[in-house]
């Protein structure tokens, strides 16, 4: 049996360290040679990020993985998987993802004709600013580049001005003041040199954790025998999902150390961005904006049924209840 697998961004550590070894070596070996894998990535295929799961459902390939948030155009309820600011550590993020898993499973079943195999994290999406920022209040009136609907809406609710800039144009835009701040993963910001053009780092996940969903086409999945299904499900949990999560917290700590010089940097030379400590009061205020404006807004996009389901699962885990508008 050959599986055609489309991986997430080929340049990022999640693919290089976990996805690529898992699909090209670990799984074929675990199957004793019964499963073969042909692996590529959606950026190498030049796919639009919003098409990855659409085409998976159509059976254009067997397995696909990318950021769940890319697919919310087709499934607004999926935004509930990755709400900003609710999880501050990797453990909390995992608890959130585990709570959301049955919901995500249903969404992928109905919207994308596929079965969820794993959910792994990209590093949390933090804020880089080339401006004097000492609290969340200071974001008011600043021009901020964010990707994704909920993050952008959240930043706007905090009083910031959303600006569209392509990822590669962010350093220039920060340097020249086209934008004052930009949101991305701490590690991506470090390797893309954003520290050269920004001064302040807010290490809180204002952009959420960018959960990466691995899913398999439902017809393909149902066509596999029970043993193979179990083999894939067990191996992917033990050899891909768990290790990816286990390293997430350390990676975050190390990435922030690399950017600010506070602590051990594992990836190279440490830089000296100013780490902005977010006060408890500040944090509560932002969370209030999230709960009072951003989440109700989402509930109206996703519908009351999904909001209720979210309250019972994810909401119960993180202690937040969405009020429909």
């Amino acid at each position: 049996e050959t599986l055609s697998v489309v991986g997430s961004w080929s340049g990022l550590p999640l693919h290089k360290q976990y996805e690529a070894p898992f699909w090209s070596e670990t799984l074929p070996a675990a199957s004793g040679g019964n499963l073969e894998v042909a692996l590529t990535t959606h950026d190498q295929m030049n796919l639009g990020v919003g098409d990855v799961f659409r085409l998976l459902g159509d059976g254009v390939y067997d397995v696909a993985m990318t950021v769940a948030d890319y697919a919310v155009a087709d499934a607004p309820e999926l935004e509930g998987l990755d709400v900003p600011l609710l999880a501050l550590t990797a453990d909390e993020a995992r608890a959130m993802v585990d709570a959301a898993r049955p919901m995500v499973e249903d969404i992928y079943n109905t919207r994308f004709n596929s079965h969820v195999l794993a959910i792994a994290p990209y590093p949390p999406q933090v804020v880089f600013c080339n401006a004097e920022v000492s609290s969340l209040d200071d974001l008011q009136g600043l021009k901020v580049r964010a990707s994704g609907r909920m993050t952008a809406k959240f930043l706007e609710a905090l009083g910031a001005e959303g600006v569209n800039v392509a990822f590669s144009e962010v350093p220039g835009a920060l340097q020249k003041g086209v934008v004052d701040c930009a949101v991305t993963g701490a590690g991506s910001g470090y390797s893309a040199g954003w520290w050269e053009v920004s001064t302040h780092l807010l290490p809180i996940p204002l952009g959420g954790w960018d959960s990466v969903v691995t899913a398999v086409n439902l017809d393909k999945w149902n066509g596999l025998d029970a043993d193979t299904q179990a083999l894939i499900a067990d191996t992917i949990k033990a050899e891909f999902e768990d290790p990816a999560w286990a390293s997430a917290q350390n990676a975050l700590v190390s990435d922030i150390a690399c950017l600010t010089g506070n602590g051990e940097c594992a990836s190279g030379d440490a830089r000296s961005m100013t780490l902005v400590e977010v006060s408890e009061a500040d944090f509560e205020k932002a969370r209030a904006v999230l709960v009072d404006e951003v989440l109700p807004d989402w509930a109206s996009r996703a519908g009351d049924d999904w909001a209720a389901r979210w309250n019972d699962s994810v909401g119960a885990t993180v202690g937040v209840t969405v009020m429909a508008k």
């Binding site: 050959t2 055609s4 080929s10 340049g11 042909a38 692996l39 590529t40 990535t41 950026d43 190498q44 295929m45 030049n46 796919l47 639009g48 919003g50 098409d51 659409r54 085409l55 159509d58 059976g59 254009v60 390939y61 800039v165 392509a166 990822f167 590669s168 144009e169 350093p171 220039g172 835009a173 340097q175 020249k176 003041g177 086209v178 893309a192 040199g193």
Partner: protein
């Protein structure tokens, strides 16, 4: 698979099926013969996501900018002014082609648009003054390629987008090699015309006062360059938005220095739509072919091939250069970049090379691909602007300039500072 591709491409192209359609047909073939998956189901999504792209809108904008300059008469006067300055060299008016192309490269992000602009204004002169059509049109096709090396540049924007490197830094890095390449075109033209004076037509000498007066004609184009590049480096616009700034600038400058009319606007628009559609059909076809190739595993084949050679970094770069030269014959350049960058650049960076430097080296090779048959868009654009003669004349005429590009690629490999000096110095 490689054999199928090569044979299929040559066969279908020689049947004179439109190039964009050939790419789709090859993609259907890969889908049918080499992939167990129903890739055809992805066709609609591919077409949508390839064309729903804010970066690509720079193409019609830069083409429109060029059209406005041509139809307002500014391009013709720039050409005439540069002619005063360079046509005393052995090769005469051929140098005016190169100089004008260099000048327009500094305002246009597209090689095709640059070549189209220069070809439109220069071709009537060649016939008037009796130049060898081969060298004359070859110089335009080759000079036009500078459009993507001298900033602004659509292809460098795409490279920066795909490799997550800084676009303003890439632009700075392209400036010196771009000018050096233009100078090498001039030198090689002089050498050829010194050996065979009949190729270069008449050398013409103008009084110095007339040369000085001609400088005034360069003001519009210099203003436009300042506006476009200034908007990027002052932080007003992103490199893509700068194309829109360029269009607005061209309209204003045309209104001041040339003349605008509804007639001129509609002609410019029609020309823009025609060239943009021609490019986009090829780009979309290439994107679909790329999608089928990636699904069928060509990335793995290529990566395994390069990795399996076990070569030193320098040898690997040389192999990569050869790969680009060969692929450049057949693959449209924007697609060539999109297809190869995700595979090649990680290998190169892993070996310790600077991605900015490699971007510039790749642009030289991409420039070469623009003028090598059978798939070389600049050749078609120049041939399209000619009223007579065959395609092969243009192809023969580009050979000296291809040699200059090879020399430039070698120089970049030996002395990376040619590209890296400027961005590093300005940090």
């Amino acid at each position: 698979m490689i054999g199928y591709l090569t044979f299929g491409l040559l066969a279908l192209l020689s049947l004179s099926i439109p190039v964009g359609i050939v790419l789709f047909l090859l993609g259907f073939g890969i889908d049918t013969f080499f992939s167990p998956f129903p890739l055809m189901k992805g066709l609609g999504n591919l077409v949508w996501s390839t064309s729903n792209n804010a970066t690509l809108i720079a193409i019609p904008f830069f083409v429109l900018l060029g059209e406005i300059l041509v139809r307002s008469g500014i391009a013709t006067r720039t050409y005439a002014a540069l002619d005063r300055w360079v046509s005393w060299l052995p090769g005469g008016l051929v140098h005016a082609n190169i100089a004008t192309a260099t000048m327009f490269s500094a305002t246009s992000g597209s090689s095709v648009a640059t070549a189209a602009t220069v070809a439109t204004v220069a071709m009537p002169q060649a016939e008037k003054l009796g130049y060898d059509p081969k060298l004359f049109s070859g110089a335009i096709a080759a000079g036009g390629t500078l459009g993507i090396m001298i900033p602004p540049s659509i292809n460098l924007i795409v490279y920066g987008f795909l490799t997550q490197t800084s676009i303003p830094r890439l632009f700075l890095a392209g400036l010196v090699p771009g000018i050096a390449l233009a100078l090498s075109f001039v030198v090689i033209t002089m050498i050829i015309c010194a050996i065979r004076p009949s190729l270069g037509g008449e050398r013409r000498f103008f009084p110095f006062s007339e040369m000085l007066r001609a400088l005034a004609e360069l003001i519009p184009i210099i203003l436009l360059f300042t506006v476009i590049i200034g908007s990027i480096y002052n932080g007003w616009a992103t490199p893509t938005e700068a194309a829109a700034v360029g269009v607005a600038g061209a309209i204003v400058i045309a209104a001041i220095f040339g003349g605008v009319s509804l007639q001129m606007f509609s002609q410019s628009i029609l020309g823009t739509i025609k060239i943009t559609s021609m490019i986009m059909l090829v780009v979309i076809g290439a994107s679909f072919l790329n999608f089928t190739l990636a699904s069928a595993g060509i990335g793995r084949e290529l990566q395994a091939f390069i990795g399996g050679l076990g070569l030193s970094p320098l040898m690997t770069i040389l192999v990569i250069v050869c790969i680009y030269i060969v692929l450049g014959f057949f693959i449209e350049t924007l697609s060539l970049m999109v297809v190869t960058i995700p595979i090649i650049v990680p290998i190169v960076v892993e070996m310790g090379y600077d991605p900015i430097w490699f971007g510039i080296l790749m642009i030289v090779l991409i420039e070469m691909a623009l003028i090598t048959p059978p798939v070389g868009l600049n050749l078609y654009v120049v041939q399209g602007a000619r009223k007579s003669g065959t395609m092969s004349e243009v192809m023969l005429g580009t050979i000296p300039y291809i040699l200059a590009m090879l020399a430039m690629a070698a120089a970049l490999i030996v002395v990376p500072e040619i590209a890296l000096f400027l961005p590093n110095a300005l940090e």
